[in-house]
């Protein structure tokens, strides 16, 4: 799949070629948004909870240096080895070194969007390591050789029939069987063998507590626990913004996370890891990978509050109708569109424009990130850095020229409307993207300004 050359609009065009599929995708995600609404409307103090979480994260982002060092000290005291990685390359090498030291070439991995961001699977594969993703959705996209299309629901773009086909191809299920119960059972058996035989397990981290050096991993399938508890070595990878100051703050975030994500009151498993069990090795890799740069961008700093619930994706009318892969980034949707340009402004210059700025994302965000305002601000930064296309620059200059002068505007409007009335083919053609699926407005004989001059004495 060569996504690099196509921008969001082009990839969205491809997704929209199959309207039934778009409808199905939209309705599936809207159903989750509706579940979220139902869950949050049961919490009278919901808005207060969001505000509290947002303030805790403000504190975290202002004192990260202290909290990270505090976390490291406590984790070390608990018997955990702490590593620091400036970028993906360093992180991936740390993981590889641990595997090499244990003479292991197979690893089980529970859900971690960070390792997607750092392309760990590809790196390990190049080094002869076999990684099995144990989150069911991630396993499905792994079999399909695709990246996840959603941070919480990695294979939400796949229909059950397609999953049945993949399982038939890779796991030997009967052709044409798409019964979810049956497929899940098959995956359980397949993964059970993986859990029992892997010596090293990698998990993500949802929350890392500075006060205690503990970390919490949230899953619905218990796959992080199965992997970590059966393996001799547990590696936990975390972006450095996952820190929360104290254990008591967990209550705020755990109440927000899954209600926002899927409408559940809490994840099925919220597992606390504090120290390795006897004979086990535990590693935490704390990753920067552009986060300190984002922290330094005052207008975009708040994006680091994200707890990866995916609510902004589920509510986003554009995401639902363009699919996660149209964002050509590990993290898709509105949050991906404000995180990605920090990593590579040129490559992701299109993403902040993949929005109508409707603001629904900011309203569902459990930590109150001003997502749509940041999209607007990224547009300004991207254009100032020279990543607007020549055609766009030219059209904006014409627009500015017209709208900055009343005389040009009035003449232009009159001439334009005259042409639309007398030569409609000038606008009603294939070159006009408005006209492709929409009629142009009927041009009136006179503008309001012209009417006013005749009907009111100014």
């Amino acid at each position: 799949m060569n996504n690099e050359v196509k921008d969001h609009a082009a990839l969205a065009d491809i997704f929209n070629a199959d309207e039934d599929r778009v409808n199905w995708h939209d309705e599936t995600l809207w159903w989750i948004r509706a579940k979220r609404d139902k869950a949050v409307h049961n919490i009278p103090g919901w808005e207060e909870l969001r505000e509290t979480a947002s303030q805790i994260k403000n504190n975290v982002l202002s004192n990260l240096d202290k909290y990270l060092v505090q976390f490291e000290a406590h984790a070390k005291a608990n018997g955990v080895t702490v590593h620091w990685a400036a970028n993906g390359k360093e992180h991936n090498k740390i993981v590889h070194d641990i595997l090499t030291r244990h003479n292991v070439n197979r690893m089980v991995k529970s859900k971690s969007m960070l390792t997607e961001e750092l392309h760990l699977n590809e790196y390990l594969a190049e080094n002869g390591i076999d990684v099995i993703d144990s989150d069911l959705g991630e396993r499905i996209v792994q079999l399909a050789k695709e990246p996840p299309s959603h941070i919480v629901l990695p294979c939400i773009h796949k229909k059950k029939e397609e999953i049945g086909e993949l399982f038939h191809q890779y796991l030997g299920t009967p052709a044409g069987n798409a019964d979810p119960q049956f497929l899940t059972e098959t995956a359980r058996h397949h993964l059970r063998e993986t859990f029992l035989t892997r010596k090293v397990a990698l998990t993500g981290v949802n929350f890392a507590i500075a006060e205690t050096g503990e970390f919490v991993v949230c899953t619905n399938e218990g796959n992080a626990d199965m992997g970590a508890h059966l393996a001799d070595v547990h590696i936990a990878s975390m972006g450095f913004e996952k820190i929360i100051p104290e254990r008591k703050h967990l209550g705020v975030f755990l109440r927000l996370l899954t209600r926002s994500a899927t409408g559940q009151p809490i994840t099925t498993y919220s597992s606390h890891f504090s120290k390795p069990r006897d004979g086990q090795e535990m590693h935490i890799i704390i990753v920067d990978n552009g986060r300190s740069v984002q922290l330094g961008r005052e207008e975009f700093r708040n994006s680091l509050k994200c707890i990866r619930c995916g609510a902004c994706m589920n509510t986003c009318p554009v995401y639902r109708r363009s699919g996660g892969h149209s964002y050509h980034n590990a993290i898709s949707g509105p949050i991906g569109a404000i995180l990605a340009p920090n990593l590579d402004m040129e490559k992701y210059a299109d993403l902040p424009f993949a929005s109508t700025l409707c603001g629904s994302c900011s309203n569902v965000c459990p930590v109150k990130i001003d997502i749509h305002d940041q999209l607007y601000k990224w547009r300004q930064v991207i254009v100032k850095n020279g990543y607007a296309t020549t055609a766009k620059k030219a059209s904006m200059q014409v627009m500015t020229f017209t709208l900055s002068s009343p005389a040009v505007y009035h003449t232009g409007g009159k001439v334009g409307r005259w042409f639309m009335r007398h030569a409609p083919f000038a606008v009603n053609n294939k070159l006009n993207p408005w006209y492709k699926q929409r009629d142009m407005p009927e041009p009136p004989k006179e503008s309001f300004g012209e009417w006013y001059a005749k009907n009111r004495k100014g």
Binding site: V383, W434, P444
Partner: protein, 274 residues
């Protein structure tokens, strides 16, 4: 603060008397008509002007106005909006209030109007500019309207007005429900507001988004229109003509008989004016 009730014909207003500025008979309102409304939807602008006049407001339309600058700013070219900003300040700085039949343009002026040479004037405008329906509910405190519109109407919540200017409650938030445009429509005799499956989903217009992301924009518009049609709407109304223009384009392409009307046209009782 003294509350006074003014009766102008059949329209009743409970204005807050707090010095001359809030007195509907003394204050002068500058009418800002967004560029595309001026050019394509004069009927919406006329309805807005007429209703304000009927409510006893002195309205002036400065003839040298063009655009709020949002098309450039939302495309990432805010640095090109100086000309629009200067014009806007020149045209509107003198008024007690500025009223515009658009939530989107008003939000842009409130959030982004700036002029290094005249920061005070820019701040005055930003704090005094109102979207049309909220001017009626919040400043004029309109209590009743004599209009009739015996039709099934779908109310489209334009995002910038709703989520930006808080013209109505938002489905994402846990907060009491309200709607400023909805409360005005409820004063119209015979009107039936149809319920919608998704009460405040974006229509997909989004300014230059409508052409830059054509396929998603159209799909969003089609889905919004389908929701209104499925609930039997004969008309779709809203506070922003831009969303309505986008949905009208889709309705007309589909050959639908359903029409779009700016809310001012229904409130003014002049839906069939040009």
């Amino acid at each position: 603060m003294i509350f006074k009730v003014y009766f102008c014909h059949h329209y009743s207003i409970a204005g807050i008397y707090a010095g001359d500025i809030n007195h509907p008979n003394i204050m002068t309102v500058g009418l800002f008509i967004p560029c595309y409304v001026d050019q394509f939807y004069p009927g919406a602008a006329i309805a807005c002007l007429e209703l304000l006049e009927k409510l006893g407001v002195t309205v002036v339309y400065p003839k040298n106005q063009t655009c709020c600058g949002q098309p450039m700013a939302n495309s990432g070219f805010e640095h090109l909006t100086h000309g629009c900003n200067e014009l806007f300040i020149k045209n509107f700085a003198e008024f007690d209030y500025i009223v515009a039949p658009s939530g989107s343009c008003v939000l842009h002026i409130r959030d982004h109007l700036h002029d290094d040479a005249h920061p005070d004037k820019a701040a005055h405008i930003s704090s005094r500019i109102y979207e049309f329906t909220s001017f009626l509910t919040d400043v004029l405190k309109v209590q009743s309207l004599p209009s009739k519109f015996p039709h099934k109407v779908g109310m489209h919540q334009s995002c910038h007005g709703q989520r930006g200017l808080h013209l109505s409650s938002m489905s994402e938030l846990v907060a009491p429900g309200f709607s400023k445009p909805g409360s005005l429509l409820n004063m119209v005799e015979g009107i039936e507001i149809v319920p919608l499956s998704r009460v405040d989903e974006c229509c997909g217009f989004g300014g230059t988004f409508c052409v830059a992301e054509e396929s998603v924009s159209v799909k969003m518009g089609k889905d919004r229109v389908t929701d209104h049609l499925g609930h039997g709407a004969e008309y779709i109304t809203g506070v922003d003509m831009s969303c309505l223009m986008h949905m009208e384009g889709i309705l007309n392409r589909q050959g639908s008989k359903v029409k779009v009307l700016h809310i001012a046209q229904i409130l003014n009782g002049s839906p069939l004016a040009p």
